[in-house]
């Protein structure tokens, strides 16, 4: 009996991948000597960089080294007011009067300038935000440029997009964006707003102001009329001041559901239009007929892309029971191969957590998961001593009622559940206040379309995950917000009819 068990165990062990070899990746750091950064950044208002009224500045640091990169101006209510006035002036005097096809040319210029300076932007994005250089280079920056390029083309075609509706711009848009995709979110906000003829006051997140300020430089270079885009930096109160400003016609916000709810309440009873792109807790569902190896890659991409700082991250994994052992074994193996470390290294898979605050929040959730009785599994990889890092983490044996299965963690932490029937998994996937995205892995096309029609989520990825394109509308159901960004549908939130 015992020897048989031993034999079995040996067989099982033989299946395990071997990592104790000498095959190591040599460091492959991206050079940083070519980037142009200033010691101090001002507010970008009415086409000029101006000192903040408060006279205050805050540090922006590299989360991978905890070293200061630059000082950023802290705006106050007065600055917000100046920026809104500049945007209003530009709207009245130039932007709303300019022929749409000429407006388009400025947006095309911005797209081209981003393309030309793509390498610099991706290095700064990685230094300031902690995401791996591979992602900022291959995803964030090109997508940002493409977004401008795409919406530039819409500027003189709006009548075709909404036949018989005579679309008109709204006026001044106040836009507040998060720290997970700083430049890309700026592009998602600014490009459709400009294409539809609005002017903009944008506030980047306080931990990631730099690429938005580099974008301000690009906007200056593009010759865009002064005041059409204003970029003001600072903490939460700056955003609150924008939300409450009387001369803003539109608020577009991407960020947490809590803040989104506060904004919706704050503007209640006003004529301000609102778009909210909020949190998520996406179900990534693996059926037994799925191509398992591909699905494992999809799970990894779903939750560990951008350190899990993704509102549409596939943070809840549902595996059909019959393949659960295989999927989890392969997933654990794959976790071991992920490289966590210097975000500027081209081999790095998982970079730094964006801030100390976020690191603490993630670690808090790890404790909660363990205390709630879930089984925690982490990669055995080493993580740098300095900077903010978390090992890729799985929670096995979780249930629907666990906090780690219900709340958005916004980190590289995956809660795994199993299921038996399609009814069960639809019920579990939908039974959550969020509804931003979902993933389905199966070989059966007919099942994919069944799932896409039953899942209450704004984006469903089938046999893929975390795919974005300027032509593809993105946005949530339920408490994940409303309004869409991308594609034809992304024009609507910036127009009145």
């Amino acid at each position: 009996m015992r020897s048989k068990t031993k034999q079995k165990m040996a067989k099982k062990e033989a299946k395990k991948l071997e990592y104790f070899t000498d095959w190591k990746y040599a460091p492959s750091p991206e050079a940083t000597d070519h980037i142009r950064l200033q010691k101090q950044y001002e507010l970008f208002i009415n086409g000029k960089f101006v000192k903040p009224n408060s006279g205050k500045y805050f540090d922006t640091i590299n989360p991978a080294t905890e070293e200061k990169i630059s000082s950023i101006a802290e705006a106050n209510d007065k600055d917000v007011d100046t920026a809104v006035k500049a945007a209003r002036g530009a709207y009245d005097k130039t932007w709303s009067k300019m022929p749409a096809k000429e407006r388009a040319k400025y947006i095309y210029r911005i797209a081209r300038l981003i393309q030309e300076r793509a390498r610099e932007l991706s290095v700064i994005e990685t230094m300031d935000g902690g995401k791996s250089i591979r992602e900022s280079r291959d995803i964030d920056v090109p997508l940002a440029a493409n977004h401008f390029f795409y919406y530039a083309g819409w500027a003189d075609k709006l009548e075709y997009a909404f036949p018989n509706r005579h679309p008109k711009s709204l006026g001044v848009a106040g836009q507040v964006i998060p720290w997970n995709f700083p430049l890309l979110m700026a592009a998602w906000k600014i490009a459709p707003a400009l294409a539809t003829g609005n002017t903009v006051v944008l506030k980047p997140a306080e931990t990631t102001s730099l690429t938005a300020l580099k974008l301000a430089e690009i906007i200056q270079e593009s010759g865009l009329p002064d005041g059409v885009v204003n970029i003001i930096t600072g903490h939460g109160p700056v955003g609150a001041s924008m939300v409450n400003h009387k001369d803003i016609n539109k608020i577009a916000f991407t960020g947490s559901t809590n803040v989104g709810k506060w904004i919706q309440k704050a503007i209640a009873g006003t004529d301000k239009k609102l778009t909210l792109e909020l949190g998520g807790k996406a179900a990534n569902i693996i059926f037994e007929d799925a191509p398992i190896n591909q699905a494992v890659e999809g799970i990894v991409n779903g939750i560990f892309f951008n350190q899990g700082h993704v509102c549409c991250a596939g943070s809840r994994l549902f595996v059909q029971e019959s393949v659960a052992d295989e999927v989890i074994r392969k997933l654990k193996d794959r976790l071991e191969t992920l490289i966590v470390g210097d975000p500027l290294d081209k081999n790095t898979d998982i970079g730094a957590i964006n801030s100390k605050m976020q690191l603490n929040k993630i670690n808090e959730y790890l404790k909660i998961g363990v205390n709630d009785g879930a089984e925690m599994y982490q990669s055995s990889c080493s993580i740098p001593k300095k900077g903010f890092f978390v090992r890729p983490t799985l929670f096995l044996n979780t249930s629907q009622s666990h906090r780690i299965s219900q709340e958005e963690i916004f980190g590289p932490v995956l809660a795994v559940q199993t299921f038996r029937t399609i009814e069960e998994v639809i019920e579990k996937a939908n039974n959550i206040p969020y509804g931003l995205s979902a993933g389905v892995w199966t070989d059966k096309g007919s099942r994919i379309f069944n799932m896409t029609s039953k899942l209450r989520a704004g984006v469903v990825w089938a046999n893929t995950y975390n795919k974005f394109d300027p032509t593809s509308p993105f946005g949530g159901y339920k408490e994940s917000g409303f309004g869409r960004e991308g594609g034809l549908h992304g024009l609507m939130p910036y127009l009145k009819f």
């Binding site: 096809k101 040319k105 500027a155 997009a161 059966k444 096309g445 099942r447 379309f449 032509t471 034809l488």
Partner: protein, 292 residues
């Protein structure tokens, strides 16, 4: 001593190359500065070579990402803007006033930018998910027709050609264009712009010659999917229509005033598109009602 100017030999444009006509024939064109250009009088064989090039380029061009096609059309506009002066001079030599020449070039550039923008947008306007009564996912999308033969506007040197070629290639088609017979030089210089704009060889082919001789070949070739005549010629149109029936070519007569801003739009793209409908079953098991 005065420097002697180097004059350009105007060739034709096939498969990304600039040959002279295989026939060796030419027709003289007198410019305003009294110089003469010996324009290629292209033959049926030149046209047939162009169709081979266009067909070969179709697969690659139509499967490019729409976004990429948009970037390339925008690049053509960038290149044209950069060579504006050259076109202004050429147009003057063809008899344009300075004002008319400026308008023609600028409208051509803007039209290219306009269609660059359409490359990845018309699909969203003209596709549909069809609500069929059975449990099927059913959708229709436009797809390019293939190789398009174009008899360009006779009255303009550049704008008429650009106004037809741009929507044609924006939608993923490839084409063979017969340039304006009386104003052919700008078309060939425009071919040089295309050749330096990342447009794959064979996507746009431009020949010069005699419309009376070539229109029958343009419309009868069995590997051409659509033919566009931009001129009002009733007798030609009858031949073209009859020849087209040989392989059910789509025929369009686009005799337009191309300087009118209204003569641009997504319908110039969709005219050169087929609609493809796909049916796919939807499994219908699971919760009957959605509860959340």
């Amino acid at each position: 001593m005065e420097r002697i100017e180097v004059l350009k030999t105007y060739k034709i444009f096939i498969g990304g190359q600039f040959p002279r006509t295989e026939s060796g024939r030419y027709y003289p064109l007198k410019l305003k500065n009294n110089m003469t250009v010996n324009v290629s009088l292209s033959s049926r064989k030149d046209f047939r070579n162009s169709v081979v090039a266009a067909r070969a380029a179709f697969s690659g061009w139509s499967s490019r990402a729409a976004f990429n096609r948009g970037q390339i059309l925008y690049r053509i506009a960038e290149m044209l803007e950069g060579r504006k002066e050259q076109f202004l001079e050429e147009l003057k030599q063809l008899g344009y006033t300075a004002t008319a020449a400026k308008k023609e070039v600028e409208q051509s550039i803007d039209r290219l930018v306009y269609y660059a923008g359409w490359c990845d947008k018309y699909q969203q306007l003209f596709s549909a998910v069809n609500p069929v009564a059975t449990s099927h996912f059913n959708f229709s999308v436009p797809e390019p027709m293939g190789v398009v033969a174009i008899l360009a506007d006779e009255s303009t040197a550049l704008l008429g050609l650009v106004s037809v070629v741009a929507p044609c290639i924006a939608g993923g088609n490839t084409c063979i264009v017969l340039a304006s017979e009386s104003k052919p030089t700008c078309s060939i210089t425009f071919a040089e712009v295309i050749a330096t704009s990342d447009v794959p060889g064979g996507v746009v082919n431009i020949v010069t010659g005699n419309r009376k001789e070539l229109h029958a070949h343009f419309s009868s070739h069995m590997d051409v999917n659509a033919v566009i005549n931009c001129n009002a010629e009733k007798d030609f149109n009858k031949t073209i229509g009859e020849n087209a029936s040989l392989n059910v070519k789509r025929v369009f007569t686009w005799n337009k005033n191309w300087s009118d801003e209204k003569e641009q739009g997504p319908y110039y793209i969709t005219d050169l598109q087929e609609i493809k409908t796909t049916w796919h079953p939807i499994e219908n098991i699971g919760v009957s009602g959605i509860k959340y």
